[in-house]
Symmetry: D2
Subunit: 365 residues, 4 copies
């Protein structure tokens, strides 16, 4: 039961990195929304390996098929099943994994939990599982855009120690897509790309930070006390492979300020209640306040490195292992659509939940 996410806009992903395929069932999407593979494929193309010189050279076409839930190009309100077949299986590249646990991977823990695992390419723990999330996220993003006027974006703001400056109120998708590292700060992007290339040549890897923003969320989304918007966003992000941290608004930095310095004063602006600053990150008490929602996700450096490392084998003896195969030296560029997708899934779910309990015409304010 750990493969389902969301309440009213709910996804269930399935599939291992090797085997028949990977996919997702989206349950709860409202009817009558135009939808075809053309809405999904571009997002999968942003996620897929082999898209640039700084991602893994594995070629995976990742062609999506919608198997149910649409009719004559529109959603039916029934479950939308989507699938991508697995094609580029090279199990021989992984044969050593059958015997040895890769350090800081999930090999050992899957073995400990299930006593049995698909060792080919990481099986279920492979980033390939996120195909289902990104396909579902494309639908959630479209729903948010068309029915709620909400835009969700993500971009790279840090690779190792290289940081970028991005205006989260104005950044556009085309700025993000303007370079292969998906960092809208062109100068920083160039340095990041050089660093990643250097790491690849060294057989090493790096991590970094992806920032996500949601603009246009009206006041009132998010449900106290456990399903606060930041709690659901946090869970969504921390369920992504390689993520190690999440912060919203001022986050960890905010603790350097006192309460007086940190508080977001309210002022009326354009007939609406607005905050002068936005250290809250668009969320107060777990509920959106109408300001831009923003958060940051830390991704650790990729665990697969092309160097001999100490490890243990399945017979529980010490051994060593050297990474092989075709791996990303940095997950960040491909993590961008994953972060967008997970954020969109959380927001679409809360949009529908808000419709259910609130938004009554007879309510007074």
């Amino acid at each position: 039961m750990g493969n389902t996410f969301g309440n009213l806009f709910r996804i269930t992903t399935w599939g291992e990195s090797h085997g028949g395929g990977v996919g997702v069932v989206v349950d709860g999407c409202p009817p009558q929304m135009e939808l075809s593979e053309a809405d999904i494929q571009p997002e999968l193309d942003r996620r897929r390996p082999g898209q640039s010189k700084i991602t893994t050279p594995r070629k995976e076409a990742d062609q999506v098929r919608i198997l149910s839930g649409t009719f004559e190009g529109r959603t039916l309100g029934t479950p939308i099943s989507m699938m991508v077949s697995n094609t580029d299986a090279r199990p021989e590249a992984y044969s050593e994994m059958a015997e040895k646990f890769r350090p800081s991977h999930a090999d050992y823990t899957y073995f400990a939990k299930y006593g049995f695992r698909n060792w080919q390419g990481g099986g279920r723990s492979s980033a390939r599982e996120t195909i289902g999330r990104v396909a579902a996220g494309a639908i959630a993003k479209k729903l948010l855009r068309e029915r709620f006027g909400v835009e969700v974006l993500a971009f790279v703001t840090q690779v190792k120690n290289i940081t970028a400056k991005v205006d989260r109120e104005r950044v556009k998708l085309k700025d993000i897509e303007s370079n292969i590292v998906r960092c809208p700060d062109a100068a920083a992007a160039e340095r990041m790309i050089r660093l990643i290339e250097r790491m690849r040549r060294a057989g090493d890897s790096v991590g970094g930070i992806v920032e996500g923003v949601a603009r246009g969320v009206p006041p009132g989304w998010g449900i106290p006390v456990f399903d606060r918007l930041e709690a659901d966003l946090g869970k969504a992000m921390l369920s992504l492979p390689a993520s190690k941290g999440f912060e919203v608004g001022s986050g960890f930095e905010g603790i350097q300020l006192t309460g007086r310095e940190h508080n977001d004063a309210f002022r009326m602006r354009g007939g609406r209640v607005r905050t002068v600053s936005n250290r809250s990150g668009g969320i107060q008490g777990g509920i959106s306040n109408g300001e831009t929602i923003y958060f940051r996700v830390a991704f650790k450096p990729v665990a697969t490195v092309m160097h001999e490392q100490d490890t243990v084998d399945v017979t529980l003896h010490n051994t060593t292992l050297k990474g092989r195969g075709r791996h990303d030296p940095c997950v960040l560029p491909r993590a961008v659509p994953m972060v967008e997708s997970m954020a969109a899934l959380v927001l679409a779910d809360h949009a529908l939940r808000h419709r259910a309990q609130n938004d009554w015409p007879e309510h007074k304010r």
Copy 2:
């Protein structure tokens, strides 16, 4: 539906800061565990206001009553209902809140969501809601200790810019409880206390970091892909009032390392698979690996400050508001039992979920 947390070990909290009381229903606790109010009250005493000079002087006895789910001092396996009555209501202290939104509080967003709110002391958004969590957490901690040999602890490691050094493998509850700020590093604790007192006198507030650890968790807990242990811990922590960030293991700091530097090598030790370092924070691929689990939670500075601030009133006009009443200048000492409780709730839930699907005698490894 946002007031329930957990799957198999599941809690539902209820109650506003003013009104009849606050409480919790715990569903799913196994039967035949010894349990009485004496197991719960000490944890509530760690949480309650007025416990020391650096917390709010509000006096709330917070006497818990177990209303169901036990018989002759043992759990029945039926829902355990617990309640604390509200006693110290001074609505006049809050009358200005009826008209004005406190900056960086939930007043405005509750108004925007529900069109109506209990403005006395924050209503449902008050930290008083966490009484139910801490009472339930006491049961979860006992279950983990007695049936699984797992110990959950939390402590303060940072207040504003004052940081502590704590050995997370060896720290004990009595070290944490040895001072009123709940920081086991005595020297740092003293500086933290002085800072908080200074802030109180200045009518200002500070935030900081609480670290949580779980020792003795066996390999195998946590469920891919969405209910990874860190995802559920993250959601739990980010659902706490005033929390702004969560990180597990190396967290945000880890991105300064390369993959080679960051990886945790495996070695056999004492007949078990162990990691030489623990940057993973005891979790790999969302599943515990048998090492100590640790994570950090950022709490923002308390929003209530005794200074005039710009804000808006319920008629949507600009105004100003100055904090009144008796408030904590720093939530950290009282957040410690909250963090412990939420961590224990997540782990108890995963302990039971692991029993359900895994742990078969006939399984080979």
Copy 3:
């Protein structure tokens, strides 16, 4: 996790027949609905023991208290906690139950499941648990009536072999409440009452059928494929103590007809799509069709009889047991508010779920 029912309008009940009390937490009720104990108490009075000569003479005042979720007489949108204290504990009346399993009661199965039970009055398996359901149902009924124009009613249509004739399109609450057996057919009611009195004198018991109806449900409620309206109604009813069967529309009788005879023809009437007959019971394909929803619930004869019966004791030896204490000779009159409540809970949940996914202004038909 078996003590929670519903998705968006969700209840969690707690409490044993003996102990501190029984209660319920209602999560998901929309805000701004007028609500006080005066809305709840009349329903509990319909449920409580001792209300007439054909129910158990146990006196339980069952005074309800709303502990949270309302403010100044209106709902807040936060969890509504309600509680009834236990007062009339006479454990000595149950002392034999500590040692012996009552036939066709839950004593043995609770023992088998938990290895431990509150043997006083049935503990959690007591009908006293339904207080929480009826209290929550009163809120659901009010929500359905005020916000959706839906009326939910139930009444007795059969006691043992005595059957009643009731016009389900026109029956009113006052017809139901016009006699103590809650059967709107006065002549049948009189015979039922005489039969129940005879059974009580004979130390025996009887069962029967309660019919539930919901009028005014608009077309479109209910969610394929698993949360069909009849599936959720069926689960709700079969979760009531002593229920053994559920049928909707033509039910078991309908299988005597052929398809031609059974089908409900559609005709336009009053500008709406209507059915000429209503063998579907107002539900087609799991979704309401705008006709009156109706269903029947079978309740077995009460298991406690004042005669010696063969049974087994907790040491697993054969023995005999004779019922003692004050018991209902027939649960039907008190089951009526329970059936109404559970039906209202299902419909309120589906009303909110329908709002969430459907009902878009931009939808064409």
Copy 4:
């Protein structure tokens, strides 16, 4: 969110009768169970159309593919995705359905709910959706058999007014499969078959009753108060297309008895607590008591008949419609594997839930 069933053993079905295909994701199956298509296909063959002269002559091969969740012939503990492609699409057979609502079908209610529907062959409301349930049920049955020693069977006991006599304690799968109507009483089966053939020739249809039994369930499964075993079984059965009623144990008939007559006396037998009679249907207080569980499900006569019937079209005008295409004159034979599957899904879920909370070695009894 209505397309998921179960808690720990959880399925999500997807797919319309026409479109890419239909399928299911099974989440929560324990690892290390041998599983291949050969375990699934025979159950789908029992469900598929065209299998005999009394089912629809539509030919659907319904070849299942396992797309994930297994490795080297064993389950991984990860989601098992299964799919059957749609092949026999003849939309022209359904073109009239695009314009007119079939009486007692789901055409109108889907239209009312979603404002839009796949009118080809009923879309999501088609019995074709149950392919996913039967495929998942095959896994649940295998799990119950291999890990818990539980056998689940179903058979036809009534078609219209023809009733069968079946010994539910001894009936075997081969008895059920010995004739095309799946009724183990050979004489009754012959009469049923003749009746169904006569109905087909008359362009009419019939309904009936399927009985389900589960043998070998240990005492203790089922969770009070809402997830009682009969409540979950009832919901499961009432979610099947065309089902109108459910009863467990003595059911509706039981109300003809008094409490003295109805009660199941306990006696020790073979060292176990047994009941002398089994009017409880193997469940007391919502929990299994170790006796055979049995229940009956009423299926209405098939709504599609080859006669002109009054109805309404999508422009909301009166019209008539005559059934066309290839339909079952009686769903009962094909409903048998559906009932078995849903029962197995409920029991597998409760088996795992029981493991989670109960079954502790340290428990005393």
